[in-house]
């Protein structure tokens, strides 16, 4: 059996480094429901000593991450040792908890996936640079970048709670069904964040594009 002590606190609670305190609390409750003495899932899997150690580590993880100051100090240690990167705050990682150390394993599935991800990243970068350098950004541009990043509309909807019909209107430049600018800006910001591109540029370019279209 693997040693849980090799995992960092985020890996123990299976959450990304940018989790909110709500997510941390929920993850802690999930972990307790798995490792608690009366949990069906781990019934008889561990000796009492092993279980106590795991629970102790889970509690330590929680009490550290829930405390803003302790968390910041802990993050610095992880950043320094290279266990987390600034890019850990990215959406892709948010959707999938960091995999418990697979680095030593020669699993070809993971290898393929990593390679594919890398090449896809390159493509997204060139495409988004191309789009962001433009003055006007259309809904079609947004859609193209989203497709390149391999993100589904339903996924954006699930994470941002922006309704799918609004998202579709945004991508199809249907000005008449777009929400008021105040909301639209916010929606664009969320959308851009999901694609990990500069929100301000997207907002400016997109609003400029629709105001031009309205004038016509």
């Amino acid at each position: 059996m693997k040693n849980i002590e090799e995992l960092n606190y985020y890996e123990i609670l299976k959450i990304p480094a940018n989790s909110s305190s709500f997510e941390i609390k929920r993850a802690y409750q999930d972990a307790l429901s798995i490792y608690n003495q009366d949990s069906l899932v781990t019934y008889s899997l561990f000796s009492n000593e092993e279980r106590d150690n795991i629970l102790k580590t889970v509690k330590e993880a929680y009490s550290t991450l829930i405390d803003i100051n302790k968390k910041a100090a802990y993050d610095t240690i992880l950043l320094d040792s290279g266990q987390i990167e600034v890019s850990m705050t990215s959406i892709q990682n948010q959707r999938k908890p960091p995999h418990a150390h697979t680095c030593n394993m020669t699993d070809s599935d993971n290898f393929d996936e990593r390679a594919r991800k890398k090449s896809r990243k390159k493509k997204i970068e060139t495409l988004s640079n191309q789009v962001l350098s433009k003055d006007l950004i259309s809904g079609d541009d947004l859609k193209k970048m989203r497709k390149a990043a391999g993100i589904e509309l339903s996924e954006i909807n699930a994470l941002t709670k922006i309704s799918a019909s609004v998202l579709r209107s945004m991508e199809e430049n249907r000005i008449e069904s777009l929400p008021p600018n105040l909301y639209l800006k916010n929606f664009l910001r969320h959308y851009a964040k999901m694609l990990q591109i500069d929100p301000q540029k997207v907002i400016d370019g997109y609003l400029k594009n629709i105001s031009l279209a309205q004038k016509k």
């Binding site: 059996m1 693997k2 849980i4 299976k14 798995i34 069906l40 899932v41 781990t42 019934y43 008889s44 899997l45 418990a100 030593n104 394993m105 020669t106 699993d107 599935d109």
Partner: protein, 306 residues
């Protein structure tokens, strides 16, 4: 390439034979050539679930050499493309299978050519069951959401694990201190962490090899007799937990709902999914079958068990 899936799980009555029969039937219905082998030696039941009246015998004829080729002991069933090798006419002492006979069966199975071969295994963690489970680089274990079954499943996984570890160490070149410690341990209750620790101590270079060999093994599992009032995430939780705490790969295939009609189908000696194709458990097993068909084929085990 033939995909071999041993179907095990420590506890009795969790539905190993039922799932084997149903999965086999559905794989065959989707056009695959499927062979089911009853390897619950001394506790054969699969023929009854399939409604096969076993008169001519199966594995017994292969072991007593009346039939030279294991494939020739397979009989067809009511379902097209579904073949079956029985063990119901084996000797009353078959549960204590000779080591040589076990190897003979395993080697013969690995040579068979079908799309899928499902091995219905017995309960418990005796060496026969464990070695049959290790016939392939993948296996399915069946569990029910009850403490007793969960307990036996974890025991089964750990036993398979230990057996696999021992095979790896015995079959490959490891430092003699490691081999000595594993073949003649100082104490009876040697565990997998003990072995890994021994390897770390005496043969640290081989640690990664050991880990990667273990990670080649893929466990899949099914939660059977699942009732609606239970926590639906329990399967995913177990998958996650096992992937986190063991070096092998675990995949949760899905739950199969509890249904009193399963009992009816056993009474009438008919294949359940044939009799009640639209009952919830049948639909659950259909989903699982699709998952199996769509999963990546695993590399077959090479080399013999010594």
């Amino acid at each position: 390439m033939t995909q071999i899936y041993p179907i095990g799980g420590g506890k009795g009555g969790v539905g190993k034979s039922f799932i084997t029969a149903s999965l086999g039937a559905l794989l065959a219905k989707s056009g695959k050539k499927v062979l089911l082998i009853d390897l619950d030696l001394g506790g054969s039941n699969l023929h009854t679930l399939l409604g096969v009246n076993d008169q001519q015998g199966g594995i017994n004829r292969f072991l007593d050499k009346t039939v030279k080729n294991l494939e020739n002991t397979a009989v067809s069933t009511a379902i097209q493309n579904l073949f079956f090798i029985s063990s119901s006419l084996c000797s009353m002492e078959i549960a204590n299978l000779l080591h040589a006979h076990k190897l003979k069966i395993i080697t013969a199975i690995q040579k068979l050519s079908f799309d899928y071969i499902l091995l219905d295994l017995g309960t418990g963690t005796n060496f026969n069951t464990l070695d049959f489970f290790l016939t392939s680089n993948q296996g399915i274990f069946i569990c029910t959401p009850e403490p007793t079954a969960i307990e036996n499943s974890f025991r089964f996984i750990k036993a398979v694990y230990l057996r696999k570890l021992k095979h790896i160490v015995k079959r490959h070149s490891f430092n003699s201190a490691v081999k000595e410690a594993i073949i003649r341990p100082n104490h009876e209750a040697i565990t997998s962490p003990d072995i890994i620790e021994t390897v770390l101590k005496h043969d640290p270079d081989r640690e990664n090899f050991l880990r990667s060999s273990l990670s080649e093994f893929k466990f899949k599992f099914i939660l059977n007799q699942f009732r609606k009032n239970l926590d639906a995430t329990i399967g995913d939780k177990i998958e996650d937990l096992c992937n986190r705490h063991f070096y092998s790969n675990f995949q949760f295939l899905g739950t199969v709902g509890y249904d009193v009609r399963i009992h009816d189908s056993v009474l009438s000696k008919k294949v359940f999914i044939h009799k009640y194709p639209y009952a919830p458990p049948a639909i659950d097993i259909k989903k699982i079958t699709e998952k199996i068909i769509n999963s990546r084929p695993s590399i077959p085990v090479t080399g013999k068990i010594s």
